[in-house]
Symmetry: C2
Subunit: 327 residues, 2 copies
């Protein structure tokens, strides 16, 4: 586990139990790829989605700890399953510094491994959650798939509008943040107004998170090993900083992107890096960062309306940290 | 819809409503591949799985028709989703005479389309079914994925034992037949012994169905357009007729399969067809057919233990037709 949560020891302990449930679920004798899926899970990130669910549940009255942790594990399994399939879609060879599952075992087995993880996610959620929350999870997966398909349809065209972009990240990221936060509260029988506020706050936090994530792709990281910039652009994605930059100088950027390739085909890594640097010069990052700040401000305002409490403070702190992260 | 059910007009009418629910589910504004998924669904087969669910429900007392039809549609959506992903795994260009979805839209979109269909299946089942049946559906998908992964791990090696083969088809086919039949009865609150009998009968019918399906790959079809034989062998699969033939003359068959290829690589279509013909000469088809007959006999014995009724007769007739089909 990362040390992202070390300032919140109680939450960290619960997340360790969530990780144990995820591991036990994957480490299943009938699943012949369990070692690789375990490795994929352990390369894991900050466990943001299960953390949101647990924080959400602490706004309620009657939170049965184990059920909440199992539902949190279901949400993390869903996230891992989408990463496994996403890496196939994006032909990504690396995930968090390790070879991606499909690079390890081939596309076909990775398709099946993702399906298997989806099914375990549904099983865990249908065993642990209120039927309403279980249904919301199924609806959410449908929304994530639609968003990913829409994003894929526009690949290598670099013509997405701000509105297209926001719709895509709402489906692929914000919807899951929102679900995690409000499903936790709903499972713990928090009041309707609190659940509604958390639904909105989770959505805005997810929007801010994804915009920042997309900005990071444009920034080289001087502290750590030099990472390539413009990976998303090379994969054909048109994210917010590039969209803003294209509004300022479409002709210039298109001529950079056209270097060494045919229309609608893959952009070279060099052209993508050059386009990323040019987008930064054109102010695309500042404008995107201002949007992320706006989403965060909305989330903070929504959270501040909640009754003063320890979980409210935890959530305020988290929203701010997600805006400021640089990794 | 096919005319497979024309002798049972009441069932046929209900299956038409199931098809309408499947179509309405797929024809969803947020799903950008809906036309292609609709085409994939309409290239549809005999709707065996929803038919089993409906027949199962008629053994119970309180079958609310619409709920049963929605659950039947969920089972058919699950079947379509697995076909979409299977065609990726098997690199199959054609599905029931039409281009397969991934051949039409590419592997990446087909992965997402399959995920989307899975999620709609879960949503429909969690909206319509008893939570126990919904959980069984999730467990079933996990079992199907495990069976497919195991099958994929053995590809192009032609070393599966009869036991490996039976385990694979139990997971990928018999489990769904069994679930459809007994979930219908359970939803309609049939007695425990009836539900148990239907679970076993469905399993044996599914085993017989898959063995026959695998035998058909070895037979050329003189009535219709000449179809290639040995497609499964060319895709690296080692099905029951080949397993039996290998027991009789492994050296001879291995030398046929080795023609024009490296070990563990794809077999040529010509070598696969020659191996299929040789397997037939060696009596592999007769031995496999005897197994299918044995599974059918077990299913019939199980069904005959049920109280005499119209659905019992329907099920007896269906088990016999599935054994005798030649298409």
């Amino acid at each position: 586990m990362t040390d992202f949560w070390k300032a919140s020891p109680a939450l960290e302990r619960r997340l360790q139990r969530v990780v144990a449930i995820v591991d036990a679920t994957i480490d299943y004798p009938g699943f012949p790829l369990r070692e690789m899926a375990l490795a994929a899970a352990e390369a894991g990130g900050k466990l943001l989605r299960p953390a949101l669910l647990i924080i959400g549940s602490s706004f309620g009255r009657a939170a049965e700890a184990e059920r909440i942790e199992r539902l949190s594990a279901a949400v993390e399994l869903l996230h891992i399953a989408t990463l496994v399939h996403d890496d196939i879609i994006d032909e990504a060879p690396i995930r968090r510094g390790h070879p991606s599952l499909h690079a390890n075992v081939g596309v076909k087995k990775a398709v099946l491994a993702g399906d298997w993880l989806f099914s375990r996610c549904f099983l865990l959620s249908s065993e642990s959650a209120d039927p309403d929350n279980s249904r919301n999870l199924a609806r959410l997966i449908a929304a994530i798939c639609s968003a990913e398909i829409n994003q894929d349809l526009g690949k290598y065209r670099y013509t997405a509008s701000v509105r297209d972009y926001l719709r895509t990240i709402a489906g692929k990221t914000a919807a899951l943040f929102s679900l995690a936060l409000h499903a936790g509260a709903a499972e713990a029988k928090a009041g309707t107004r609190i659940v509604q506020s958390l639904r909105r706050a989770g959505y805005d936090m997810g929007m801010a998170f994804q915009v920042i994530d997309d900005i990071l792709d444009f920034e080289s990281d001087a502290d750590v090993v030099r990472k390539p910039v413009g990976k998303d652009i090379a994969e054909g994605l048109c994210t917010l900083p590039l969209i803003y930059a294209l509004q300022t100088d479409r002709a210039g950027l298109e001529s950079i992107l056209a270097r060494g390739r045919e229309p609608n085909q893959a952009v070279t890594a060099e052209a993508a890096a050059a386009a990323a640097l040019r987008a930064a010069e054109l102010g695309g990052l500042e404008r995107a960062r201002a949007d992320a700040r706006r989403f965060t401000t909305r989330a903070l305002a929504e959270i501040e309306r909640l009754p003063a409490s320890q979980p409210r403070n935890e959530l305020l702190g988290l929203a701010e940290r997600l805006l400021d992260r640089a990794y």
